[in-house]
């Protein structure tokens, strides 16, 4: 494999350099019907799960077929998406914020053949390539982070638990029976590259062991002031350590009680690894939302403090999620989001109905806002 140059010359990096041009202009990618009707849409309707029609004041109609996708996607798969878009949509498509793919059709006669085609395409292993769904009062695709595929501080995988969870939730991806829509998100550590903190159900990777200190190599690989500065809780201090052979090395000491397990020190200093099979696992948080509909946006709350990583299918985690979802589906009123339902029945009832254990881990003790989560009334349910 010979190196093929584009013409870039590392000795003259600024030669012919083009910078600061930004993204492509969105209008280049609009289907004609969007260009024509932008800002003129009157209303929409979900014809069946995953299929929408938008109607314009010009009378034009735009049909959208929404399909789920693993956000980790190969070029072969993307080319297949392109082939479908060429066949039915004059080469137009879009992606949603939640990693769904949307095929856009302006000619109704192409709609059913498109759906039929999508439903027949499967991977060799048997899973759907393009499951139609993800609309209305159901579960749509899970937004997530990199996990073990690419990240250096994850406490769990991302693609694996998402696949396991979506298999369990699949019926609700293709149905709209829930009281309101349910947004599920995953972040593989507390740095939350995927913001899961306002999701109906959040899956969060969490470390529980402070970093190990690789004293022998630390000073060779890391700049100690940077490792110290990386810690958000100031738990790292410089320390001279005497090795077994009597040599003294510069290193650091971690105040373990102060560690919040974020891994930021490991980012700065590879001699402070914290990942651990027994230490790492998953926190389940529930009841968040971002919409302003009826009630204000809400943060998710911790419902289960720890679930071990059970690769490849995380059965304890998927059981908990399924259980919460089913209790919510049966008990909540129409339009009630998961968090609104939990607040109406009271969190004491939520734990009872979902058969979840309440432990001291679920009482907030992190800085000032903790106080406002304690019960400051004599009103509660037995």
């Amino acid at each position: 494999m010979a190196f093929i140059s584009t013409g870039y010359d590392p000795k003259q990096p600024m030669k012919d350099r083009i910078t600061d041009i930004g993204p492509r202009h969105f209008e280049e990618f609009y289907p004609p019907v969007v260009k024509k009707n932008k800002g003129k849409w009157l209303y929409h309707e979900i014809l069946k799960p995953g299929v929408l029609v938008h109607v314009s004041e010009t009378g034009d109609e735009l049909y959208t077929v929404r399909v789920g996708g693993a956000r980790l996607m190969s070029v072969t798969h993307i080319r297949e998406i392109c082939e479908i878009a060429d066949k039915y949509c004059d080469g137009h498509l879009r992606f949603t914020t939640r990693n769904n793919i949307e095929f856009l059709v302006s000619d109704k006669s192409r709609l059913e053949p498109l759906i039929e085609d999508l439903n027949t395409r499967k991977f060799d292993g048997g899973s759907f390539k393009f499951p139609v769904g993800g609309t209305g009062a159901g579960v749509t695709n899970i937004v997530h982070t990199q996990g073990w595929v690419h990240c250096h501080t994850p406490a769990t995988d991302a693609s694996g638990p998402v696949k396991a969870a979506m298999d369990v939730l699949f019926d609700d991806f293709q149905n709209m029976r829930l009281p309101a829509h349910v947004r599920v998100s995953l972040a593989c550590c507390l740095n939350m590259c995927g913001a899961v903190h306002c999701s109906d159900i959040a899956i969060l990777g969490y470390h529980r062991k402070p970093p190990m200190v690789d004293n022998e190599y630390l000073d060779k690989m890391c700049e100690i002031p940077l490792a110290i500065a990386a810690c958000p809780t100031s738990a790292i201090k410089p320390k001279k350590v005497t090795m077994e052979d009597g040599t003294e090395v510069k290193s650091v000491e971690v105040n373990r009680e102060r560690c919040m397990f974020c891994g930021n020190c490991y980012t700065m200093c590879p001699s402070l690894p914290l990942a651990d099979k027994e230490g790492d696992g998953i926190v389940i948080m529930v009841g968040g939302k971002v919409s302003n509909r009826i009630s204000s946006p809400k943060f998710s709350k911790v419902a289960v403090a720890f679930i071990p990583n059970e690769a490849p299918r995380w059965p304890t985690m998927t059981d908990v999620i399924k259980k919460i979802l089913e209790v919510y589906a049966a008990d909540a009123r129409k339009y009630e989001r998961l968090g609104e339902w939990a607040e109406r029945i009271g969190w004491e009832r939520f734990f009872e109905k979902c058969d979840l254990e309440f432990s001291h881990h679920l009482i907030d003790d992190f800085r000032d806002p903790a106080y406002y989560t304690w019960r400051q009334t004599s009103n509660f349910k037995f």
Partner: protein, 439 residues
């Protein structure tokens, strides 16, 4: 024949949801066969080795990646995330596995031509694996070697008219909802504003001089489909000032059962016949609606524009015509102080394309000047707001405090009065005081 056995990953091939494992295997096979005679610029078995290292993680429950901070493209302080495998001998194909963030087009509309061309480039110079899309919104090209970074950047800028996205202490790649392109609720052109500001602030996006990351997100209406209120330092939420437009005939259509409430969003269960009093009027959080004698009335002055009634009856109700957006500031997800929701700073601002969104840019630049000077290293805007107070930000923006800025007034009277606010100032003559008060 697969290079590594993957018994654990293989268990993720079954089940209905699209299997990323099947997709990775498919890509590994395409590369192994190389029917198109691509002169792969990174190891041909890169995907095999990724499957191998991922299987190892599934077995030992820990990651095998190390962070790299040096790699990037010349002159840019963002857009590339360095990544190295901690078992390079076992998995040489992914020894170097850097990510590039490519700035997605606003609205995430694509043509197949563009995507195919991008696939060709990424198959040739990278792993052929992507994220469509990353959490912030970028197209993420997952896995290539250091020498390829400049080559890819060169091709993107020269042949694709396409730039990288942000990372590090930069403006992060802004993102938006589908907006007016395909949504009747959108109160401003999210795509145009997103694209315009992305281009206006390219220097901030590529050359880090902020204390930490800074995110813009554009939601066309208070439904907040891109979650701007929860995850952007500056959140643009479409809104309107005048009356919700009502089509009483369509209201009747819903009441009579001729139109599908919620645009059909609840069709998966029999919830009984649509009850406008219970489902719309009764759930209105401000109780500003009335349904009498077959007519729906809204006391618009009391409406807080939560979107519920509009969501339930999209054919009967539409946002008003005097549209703009609300600006909220300071949202973020994690550490140090925990999650923060955005706080309202400008209740209504015009979204004026004609003058290049000047009113909005004025706000942005005042905020940045304040945060760049006062923000500590790695302090998000929301944390600075917490430390110095919302008052300070309002002062910086030169806007008047209004009750809309708070959920409720302060719970304590410990007001930090300023000297100039108190008649006569703070300097007093103690001897004058003593004339009337004995020691």
């Amino acid at each position: 024949m697969a290079k590594h056995d993957t018994p654990l990953l293989d268990q993720l091939e079954s089940g209905p949801w699209p299997s990323f494992v099947s997709d990775l295997k498919q890509e590994a096979e395409v590369r192994a066969k190389n029917e198109k005679n691509v002169e792969y610029q990174i190891p041909q078995d890169v995907v095999e080795d990724l499957l191998g290292v991922l299987e190892l993680s599934f077995k030992d429950g820990t990651t095998h990646w190390k962070h790299g901070g040096i790699v990037g493209v010349f002159g840019y302080g963002g857009g590339v995330i360095g990544r190295y495998c901690d078992q390079p001998q076992q998995f040489p194909g992914v020894a170097h596995f850097h990510t590039m963030r490519v700035n997605q087009p606003a609205g995430k509309f694509y043509t197949s031509d563009y995507l195919r061309k991008l696939c060709d480039l990424w198959e040739f110079r990278g792993s052929g694996l992507t994220n469509m899309h990353g959490s912030t919104g970028d197209i993420v090209l997952l896995g290539t070697t250091t020498p390829q970074l400049e080559e890819i950047f060169y091709e993107l800028t020269h042949d694709f008219n396409q730039d990288l996205g942000g990372s590090g202490s930069n403006l992060r790649t802004p993102s938006d909802c589908v907006g007016q392109a395909r949504c009747e609720y959108a109160c401003y052109d999210t795509q145009d504003l997103c694209h315009h500001l992305t281009n206006e602030y390219q220097d901030e996006l590529h050359r880090p001089a902020f204390p930490y990351k800074f995110k813009f997100k554009f939601d066309g209406c208070p439904n907040c489909c891109v979650a701007s209120i929860a995850r952007s330092d500056l959140s643009f939420i479409g809104t309107w000032k005048d009356d919700i437009r009502i089509d009483q005939d369509a209201v009747k259509g819903y009441v009579d059962g001729n139109l599908k409430p919620n645009g059909g969003a609840h069709a998966g269960r029999d919830w009984g016949p649509f009850d406008i009093v219970k489902e719309v009027v009764g759930l209105c959080p401000t109780e500003c609606m009335r349904y009498e004698n077959g007519k729906l009335e809204i006391n618009n002055r009391e409406c807080t524009r939560c979107m519920h009634c509009i969501n339930v009856m999209p054919r009967a109700l539409r946002p008003g015509k005097v549209k703009g957006c609300s600006l909220l500031a300071g949202a973020k997800a994690p550490i140090v102080d925990g999650a923060q929701m955005a706080s309202l700073i400008v209740p209504f601002i015009e979204v004026n394309k004609e003058d290049g969104y000047q009113a909005i840019k004025d706000v942005i630049e005042k905020i940045w000047d304040w945060w760049m000077e006062e923000g500590k290293n790695r302090e998000r805007l929301g944390e600075l707001m917490k430390r110095q107070g919302l008052q300070k930000l309002i002062e910086v923006l030169e806007i008047d405090p209004v009750p809309q800025h708070v959920q409720e007034p302060r719970h304590n009277p410990y007001i930090f009065w300023k000297e100039e606010e108190v008649t006569g100032g703070w300097d007093r003559d103690v001897n004058e005081f003593r004339k009337h008060h004995q020691r």
